[in-house]
């Protein structure tokens, strides 16, 4: 899609009936925003308001404008014109179709004539998930992580919209770093609900939710850079340990001491060299069972 949009969120009310802690939030191409807050604080409701381009007709009373105006009805009701793709928390697909048939039907709704996108979508999904998805797999038979991976790839390839909404992509055990890399580049505006500190902090702005409404919008202006770098190290280390675990590794006792999480030993280089807290020598492959 070549046309770019400015999206505006006009404030509504929280569950206590109080006006939200902002007047309007403008979102332009290339912007990234994270949405944080405790469970039940209204994070998913906010992205659902954006996805349905609410016009004061949801519980929050928010209005979502495109280029400063109420969007045309086709933007809301016709998938082919909709400038927004949403990746929900769903890790189950109930559609009684093969992956291929499902994607073909979605292409018919979003991008008629582009049947060639089926393979591209499955290929991209397979870079996010551990176990491969094949075109003949039933949608309802996909695992949680496979479903999520396919939905993300579907949003990127078939949706290919200027505005992308993601609801907790860190769940379901997919390779979130690869997902994030796929999101970057291009002029997409990305809005993500997350409990992941690294994802939350690296976004350009952070929307904080409370009692069903937005309580504040934080613009870090670079102040949090040190913390982000620190977290990047921890992330890299966690990623490495997670992948080893998933691969069947076992660790000797005490090898995961707390100072092994200090920032100086946390670049991915130091992880792979074995100089960090986890002694790679202690890793045993293939746990033995009797």
């Amino acid at each position: 899609m070549t046309h770019q949009f400015t999206l505006t969120i006009q404030s509504g009310k929280n569950r206590l009936g109080e006006t939200e802690g902002f007047d309007r939030i403008e979102i332009r191409p290339g912007d990234t925003l994270s949405i944080v807050g405790p469970t039940g604080s209204g994070k998913s409701a906010l992205i659902n308001d954006i996805e349905t381009l609410a016009q004061g007709d949801t519980v929050t009373g928010r209005r979502i404008l495109i280029d400063g105006e109420e969007p045309p009805e086709a933007f809301i009701r016709e998938p082919a014109f909709k400038p927004i793709a949403l990746i929900t928390q769903n890790t189950r697909c109930l559609a009684d179709l093969s992956v291929e048939a499902f994607l073909l039907m979605h292409i018919r709704a979003r991008k008629p004539g582009r049947e060639d996108l089926v393979d591209e979508t499955i290929e991209l999904a397979n870079t996010f998930t551990g176990e491969e998805i094949s075109p003949k797999t039933r949608m309802s038979g996909l695992s949680g992580g496979q479903t999520r991976s396919l939905m993300i790839a579907d949003a990127l390839v078939i949706g290919d919209t200027p505005i992308l909404l993601l609801d907790e992509i860190e769940n379901a055990g997919i390779f979130k770093d690869r997902v994030i890399r796929s999101l970057q580049g291009g002029d997409k505006a990305v809005i993500l609900v997350t409990h992941d500190p690294y994802l939350a902090l690296t976004a350009g702005r952070r929307i904080v939710m409370r009692h069903g409404g937005v309580s504040s919008v934080i613009e870090p202006m670079g102040d949090e850079q040190h913390l982000i770098e620190d977290l990047a190290g921890i992330e890299a280390r966690l990623h490495r340990i997670r992948e080893l675990l998933r691969d069947g590794a076992a660790f000797s006792s005490g090898s995961l001491s707390s100072d092994s999480l200090s920032s100086d030993s946390l670049s991915s280089d130091s992880l792979s060299s074995g100089s960090s807290g986890v002694s790679m020598a202690a890793v045993e492959r293939g746990v033995s069972y009797k």
Binding site: N48, E51, T52, A54, Q55, D57, T58, V59, R77, P79, A85, L86, I87, T88, N90, C93, L94, A95, D96, L97, F102, M105, H106, R108, A109, R110, T147, M151, D154, A155, I158, G159
Partner: protein, 234 residues
Amino acid sequence: MKLLIVAGPPSGGKTAVIRQIIRNLPEGALPAFLKIDVVHATEDEELAEEFGIPAKKVYSGDLCPDHMGILVLEDALRWAEDLSRNVLIIESAGLCLRCTPYTTGSLGIAVISSISGTNSPFKMAPLLALADVAVVTKTDLVSQAEKEVFRESIRKVVPGIDIVETNAIQGTGLRYLMRRVSGQPEAGAEPVMLRGSPPLGVCTICIGKKEIGWKNHFGVLRPLDMQEPVYRGD
């Protein structure tokens, strides 16, 4: 009298949609509600209590509920009129889905849940085909892609139908349905007729006669070696 006929499979969200309709009716609207079911329904009591509106139910028992609905509709219009009501909402039992309970002069609303499977629109084609609006419920439970694929599936059955996607508990997206409701003209100037001929199959089996063999029955019957059904009776 504005006549709204709401049909769809069980547990699809018909009552949730009706609640939202009642809640959002234009000023001056005075609704009455009739639920048609087979052996058990509580919607009438719930809506009467919640909104303080006249509500009624009718059990069809051994009879086909859609058949029953067609038979009682005229009386129901009079009932609502006698109570000085100006909107009558009929909720179908939602059973075999091969019938179209919609009439001329009514707004036909098919309610179908987005979690009912991609092929469900094909299975209930008659129910969708003659409706004015297809309301797709529970869209908060599926991914956006799945919602759009489901929509495509409805479009395959009825290309031009007005599709309204909603989480009916919250009322999301129902503004498009309410626009149709507001714009719906009054029924009654012309005689109210069924839009389609439902395959009602009303016969002595339907009302509980248990013998096998067409010779033991009356009504619309079909012997093995006959291509078309025959009518036996007075």
